[in-house]
Symmetry: C2
Subunit: 262 residues, 2 copies
């Protein structure tokens, strides 16, 4: 009986047991890059690092915001659940990015759900402490306002892409964003599976497969998750052309509404 208990405790307290985090770990999140040392030190009290496995939930839409979380390694998907039960992928976070929004008041509610994609490490800070320090620290306030601007810019880019680019263009832009900087011919690995890439780009899986096939003519070869790009410059140059119907020259400088034509 005793050995069973101890094994059970070990399982529960195993890879998911939170570890304490200090100002050093907080500095890895871009949000805190310009925040003063004193604020960072106060923020890091009760901060912790949590290890998650694929599919583990970080928080649920509609729940009270108890923590502010950041991705230390791995990926986190942000999902919106409609009243009819439909789930829509809103975004994917990685590399020190904030997961969700900064709480500015007590008892805020999560507007999205967050779930780990593969093995993921997350940094969590108590939301109440963050909201309190936000009222006291101008540098933290400026950081949150800057982060909101970046979120808005990212979402505007997303709306632009969904409204004006077809699947081929969206995939080409996505792949260009993954190419290592400074190399024209390059190889890299897709960060997550193609089902998630399709949801990220707002296209069906079969449409994504067709887009991958089409990009072969533009020097993009894929083998499972490995991608080889013949020329980044050529691919970037083709992005605009991928949006044009084969024999029809599209009118420019008009409001484009290609989403339903993708």
């Amino acid at each position: 009986m005793r050995s069973y208990d101890s094994a059970s405790q070990k399982r529960r307290a195993g890879p998911c047991a939170p570890q304490p985090a200090g100002p050093g770990e907080l500095r890895r999140a871009p949000l805190f890059a310009g925040v003063d040392e004193a604020t960072l030190s106060r923020l890091s009290a009760d901060a912790r690092i949590e290890s998650l496995q694929d599919g583990d939930s970080l928080f649920h839409q509609g729940a009270v915001v108890t923590d502010l979380a950041f991705v230390l390694s791995g990926y986190v998907k942000l999902l919106r659940l409609s009243s009819s039960g439909r789930q829509t992928l809103i975004g994917i976070r990685s590399n020190g990015e904030m997961i969700g929004e900064a709480p500015t008041d007590a008892n805020e509610i999560h507007t999205l759900s967050a779930e780990a994609v593969g093995a993921t490490r997350a940094l969590k800070l108590p939301a109440a402490r963050f909201a309190r320090l936000l009222k006291e620290s101008p540098s933290l306030c400026a950081a949150v306002m800057q982060d909101s601007k970046e979120s808005i810019a990212r979402l505007v880019g997303e709306v632009e892409s969904l409204k004006s680019q077809n699947a081929d263009q969206r995939l080409a832009h996505f792949l260009l964003g993954l190419c290592p900087p400074g190399e024209d011919r390059c190889r890299f690995r897709l960060p997550y599976d193609k089902r998630l890439i399709a949801a990220r780009l707002g296209v069906k899986q079969e449409t994504l497969s067709r887009a991958f096939a089409k990009l072969r003519a533009h020097g993009v070869r894929t083998e499972t998750r490995n991608v080889h790009v013949e020329s980044v410059l050529h691919l970037a140059d083709q992005c605009d052309r991928l949006g044009r119907p084969p024999r029809l020259s599209l009118g420019r400088r008009k409001i484009e509404t290609q989403c339903d034509a993708a």
Copy 2:
């Protein structure tokens, strides 16, 4: 020569001549609802009201932000211009809403262009004064953070709609948002023309026409810009059903990527 000059000056200074604005006009913008009197009074120095005609530009993407603008009456469309010259409608502002984003620093650049839709009145405040007061007034800071949250929520809703709703559902939601509250059977006028509604919903004009035709079966009748809804409750109830293919039951609780199927 003299009369020509004076006529020319009159034309230039005609309906578009800015009028001074006070704290009362500022209070009409929801952003300023919770801002203290002293800050509002300082903000309103050099505030002015401008009258614009259909198509008049408020600002251009890439230009330095010199003013913070709000819609007092009418509509303003926010446009993104791509490097290839393609214009995408990002959103439409009205009823005291901010046009663009609050400047938090000097020399910020507009990330979108803004243009009046029909006769429009806009309130403008100098951006430099606003950014300076933002650093001094906690209530203005809180207001800007709250406004950013609302912008993010609106854009997330937009991404959700573009990724998971077909044209029929998007139109039904758009019309439901225009129904006068508290009435089940109602009449109203479309706020702007169908070309702009198509761009707003991210669908082609012919797709929008088909969606309007389809909604007739659900009690929505349109005559030019006049809309009659038989039952708001019935229409709301049908929204989810409009997303399902006629004879196929769609799997739920999976990530939906219907955008390219609309």
